[in-house]
C-alpha cells in the first residue's frame, strides 16, 4: 500500500527559533493527524510528534527545515504545519 508522501521546505522566522512553546504547538498540531510527520534539518531527521526530538534540532531563527508527512491525511497535515511555522506560531497573540 503506497501512502501519499509530501514534503515542503520552510524557514523558521520567529526570533526565538523552534524553542519549547513553538515545539509544543507543533507537536499538538501534528498529533491531530494520522500521518507520520518528520522534520529534517541537514542530516538530522526527527519525529515531528516528539517534542524532545524537535528540540534537539535547536532550530534557530533562519534555519531551513523540511517537513515531511506520509499517510492518509498527509497533505492536510503538511499544509497545517507549514502554515503554523510560516505564521511564526502566532506566538504574539498568545503572549499578549
Amino acid at each position: 500500500m503506497s501512502e501519499p508522501r509530501v514534503v515542503k521546505t520552510v524557514v523558521v522566522t520567529n526570533p526565538q527559533g523552534l524553542h519549547a512553546r513553538p515545539a509544543d504547538m507543533f507537536v499538538k498540531l501534528a498529533t491531530r493527524f494520522e500521518s507520520k510527520v518528520e522534520i529534517v534539518k541537514g542530516h538530522e531527521r526527527v519525529d515531528g510528534k516528539s517534542i524532545l526530538g524537535i528540540l534537539t534540532l535547536a532550530a534557530a531563527e533562519g534555519t531551513t527545515l523540511s517537513i515531511e508527512a506520509a499517510g492518509p491525511d498527509a497533505q492536510a497535515a503538511l499544509d497545517a504545519l507549514v502554515a503554523l511555522v510560516e505564521h511564526d506560531f502566532a506566538e504574539n497573540e498568545n503572549i499578549h
Partner: protein
C-alpha cells in the same frame, strides 16, 4: 576514560565506585530486573508517568487560575515532554530489552537527552536540560517513593558524585562509608570542602556539569591534590594511581614518627602547633598527631547537621567532650560563623551579596537567644579545660564590645544560677576583615588573643569570591597584599604582646610555613591531616632563615613570584618540597 578538572579542596587520592546522587540528592540504584518482573515494572513506570503528568497539570491549572491562561501555558511544553511518545518508547525498551529497573532506565534515557541539550551551546535550547532534570526528578520521586536512598544510608565504601551537596547532606552523611567527594558546583572553602577536610578524604569541587553522563557504579579516581576526577580509567592510569596510593600510605607511616616530637625549630624556638576541627571526633585525629591544642573549633555543623537548633545541653556535651579529650591543652571555640555559603540555599538567596551580608557575629548579635545559648554552653564547658572563646568576622570595635557585653551578661546569669564557669576564660577574635588589621592597635587592647583567618581575609582583601569559579583563580594566599596584611597585624600585636594564631588553609600548606614563622607567627592552627607535614617543616628550619625568606618575599610584587620563591626555599630545606 574521562578526565575532569575541578578545584582541589581536600588532598589525597582514592579509587572506588561512583555513587551518583540525582538532582535532589538521592541515589539512583543501578538495578536489573528478573525476566518475569518486567510487566509489573512497566506498570509501575506507567503509574509514575501518570502521576507526574497529573502533578504538572495541577501546577498548570493553579498558575492559570492565579495569573491567567497564558502563564499556565508555560507548563504545556513541559507536559508535552513528559508525554513524548518517543521518550516513553525508549524508556520502555530499555526495561524490556535490557532489563533495567525503571528508575535506572528513566535516568539513563533522560540524561542522554539532557546531554544533547547541554551540548547546544547557547540560547533557550540549552536551558531545556533543566526541564529534563525536572522531569527526571518527578519520575524518580514517584518511582522510588519511600525507597529513596540518601547518603545517610550508605552500605558500602563509596565516592559521592553530586551536583551540589547541601550542608545538611554533608553533615549527615555516613562517615563510615564515604571515601571521597566530587561536586559539579562549589569552590574552595565551600562546606563540602570543609567536611571533606574534616573527614580527611579527597574532594574535588567545581568540575562543571558531567553527571548526566554517568549513572553510578563506574570506577572513579579522585585525585584531591591535582583536582582531577577520572571516570573509568584505563589500565595504565589505574596502575599509576594504585602505586601512588601505596606510596602515600608509606609516607604517612613515616610522618607518624613525628608524633611525639615537639614542633620546634632547629634553633630551639617552640612553635605552638594546633589543629582545626569541625566535629568532636576529630579531636582524636589531632591527638594522634601530637597537636598542642585545638586552635579552631568550628561550631557550625552542630547547627547544620541537626533538624532543629541544638539546645544548650547538646552543645555543652560537644564542647565538654572536646575540652576533656584535650586534657588541659587549649581549645578555642569559635562562636557561630554561619552565613553565606553555609546557609541553606533559600536563605542565602535572599541576600544579594551574602559574603558582605548578615553572617557570623553579625547574625549572632541579631539573634541574641541563639548566641546566648551558645555562650552558656561554652562557659559551662570552660571548667573542664583551657576553653577559650573566639568571635568570628568582627569588623568594628563596636561589634567586639557588644559581643563581650553579651558574654559578660551570660556570665552573670550563670552566676545567679550557681552554675560553675571560668570567669577568666580567654576571649579572642578572628582577624579576617581588612578593617580589623588597619585598626589593630585598638583591638589588641580588648582581647586576650587574635587568630588570623586567612580564608576570609584573602577574599575580602582581594574582593574575590572563592566559590565563584570564574574568579577563583584570583584567590591566592601568595598575593603580596595578603603578606603585608599579616605583617601589619603582627606588628600591631607586639604592642601588648597579644598572642596571634593563624588558621585558614594557608597555615596547613608547607609552602607558607617559613614565611609565616618569618613574619613572627609562633602559633599555627592547621587541618589535622597537615599536622605532621607542617611539624616536619618547622623542625627543619631556623627562625633567622625564615625571617630572611619573609623579608625577601615582602619585596616581591606579584603572587606568582612569591609562590615560586616560597616553593624554592622550601625545596632547599626539604628536597621533596614537603611532599
Amino acid at each position: 576514560m574521562q578526565k575532569l578538572q575541578g578545584i582541589a579542596v581536600s588532598p589525597g587520592v582514592v579509587i572506588g565506585e561512583a555513587f551518583v546522587m540525582d538532582t535532589e540528592g538521592y541515589r539512583v540504584p543501578r538495578r536489573f530486573l528478573a525476566r518475569n518482573a518486567v510487566d509489573e515494572e512497566l506498570q509501575r513506570l506507567e503509574r509514575a508517568f501518570a502521576a507526574a503528568a497529573q502533578e504538572i497539570e495541577g501546577h498548570r491549572d493553579a498558575v492559570a487560575r492565579e495569573l491567567g491562561q497564558q502563564y499556565g501555558a508555560i507548563f504545556e511544553a513541559h507536559l508535552q515532554m513528559l508525554r513524548d511518545a518517543k521518550l516513553r518508547a525508549e524508556v520502555e525498551q530499555s526495561i524490556r530489552e535490557r532489563h533495567y529497573a525503571p528508575e535506572y532506565a528513566v535516568c539513563r534515557t533522560l540524561r542522554r537527552y539532557a546531554k544533547v541539550f547541554q551540548s547546544l551551546e547557547s540560547g533557550p535550547m540549552a536551558e531545556r536540560a533543566t526541564d529534563i532534570f525536572d522531569i527526571e526528578k518527578r519520575l524518580l520521586r514517584h518511582l522510588l517513593g519511600r525507597r529513596r536512598e540518601g547518603i545517610a544510608h550508605l552500605t558500602s565504601p563509596s565516592l559521592i558524585l553530586a551536583h551540589n551537596l547541601t550542608p545538611s547532606e554533608t553533615a549527615n552523611l555516613d562517615r563510615k562509608y564515604v571515601r571521597g567527594f566530587v561536586t559539579e558546583m562549589g569552590g574552595a572553602g565551600s562546606h563540602t570542602a570543609i567536611v571533606a577536610e574534616a573527614l580527611e578524604i579527597p574532594a574535588v569541587v567545581g568540575t562543571g556539569l558531567f553527571l548526566s553522563e554517568i549513572t553510578g557504579g563506574e570506577r572513579v579516581i579522585i585525585d584531591g591534590d591535582q583536582g582531577l576526577v577520572i571516570i573509568q580509567p584505563d589500565d595504565e592510569t589505574l596502575n599509576h594511581y594504585v602505586r601512588m596510593v601505596e606510596r602515600r600510605r608509606t609516607h604517612a607511616l613515616e610522618l607518624e614518627t613525628f608524633r611525639e616530637l615537639p614542633a620546634e625549630t632547629t634553633d630551639g624556638v617552640r612553635i605552638q602547633l594546633h589543629g582545626n576541627i569541625e566535629f568532636p571526633h576529630e579531636v582524636q585525629h589531632c591527638l594522634d598527631r601530637g597537636a598542642d591544642g585545638i586552635g579552631l573549633y568550628r561550631t557550625e555543623f552542630l547547627y547544620l547537621g541537626a533538624e532543629t537548633e541544638p539546645d544548650e545541653e547538646a552543645q555543652y556535651q560537644a564542647y565538654a567532650g572536646v575540652a576533656q579529650a584535650m586534657s588541659g591543652r587549649p581549645v578555642v571555640i569559635r562562636t557561630l560563623d554561619l552565613g553565606a555559603d553555609k546557609l541553606t540555599a533559600s536563605q542565602a538567596d535572599t541576600e544579594r551579596n551574602p559574603f558582605l551580608g548578615l553572617r557570623s557575629i553579625r547574625l549572632s548579635l541579631r539573634n541574641l537567644p541563639i548566641f546566648r545559648t551558645q555562650l552558656r554552653a561554652i562557659l559551662r564547658a570552660s571548667v573542664l579545660g583551657d576553653v577559650q572563646v573566639m568571635f568570628p568576622l568582627v569588623s568594628t570595635m563596636l561589634e567586639l564590645r557588644q559581643a563581650k557585653m553579651v558574654l559578660a551578661d551570660v556570665m552573670e546569669d550563670l552566676e545567679e544560677h550557681g552554675l560553675p564557669f571560668r570567669r577568666d576564660v580567654k576571649v579572642g577574635m578572628m582577624v579576617e576583615v581588612p578593617s580589623v588589621v588597619i585598626m589593630m592597635d585598638h583591638f589588641v587592647e580588648e582581647v586576650d588573643f587574635l587568630s588570623i583567618g586567612t580564608n576570609d581575609l584573602i577574599q575580602y582583601a582581594l574582593a574575590v569570591d572563592r566559590s565563584n569559579k570564574d574568579v577563583s583563580g584570583l584567590y591566592t594566599a601568595s598575593d603580596p597584599s595578603v603578606l603585608r596584611l599579616i605583617e601589619m597585624a603582627m606588628q600591631s600585636s607586639r604592642q601588648r604582646q597579644t598572642p596571634v594564631n593563624l588558621c585558614g588553609q594557608m597555615s596547613g600548606s608547607p609552602t607558607y610555613t617559613m614565611l609565616l614563622l618569618g613574619l613572627g607567627l609562633r602559633q599555627l592552627s592547621v587541618t589535622p591531616a597537615a599536622l605532621p607535614e607542617i611539624k616536619r617543616v618547622i623542625r627543619s628550619v631556623t627562625i633567622s632563615q625564615c625571617e630572611a625568606v619573609a623579608s625577601r618575599a615582602l619585596t616581591l610584587e606579584n603572587a606568582r613570584d612569591i609562590k615560586s620563591y616560597l616553593k624554592e626555599e622550601l625545596k632547599k630545606v626539604l628536597p621533596d618540597g614537603g611532599r
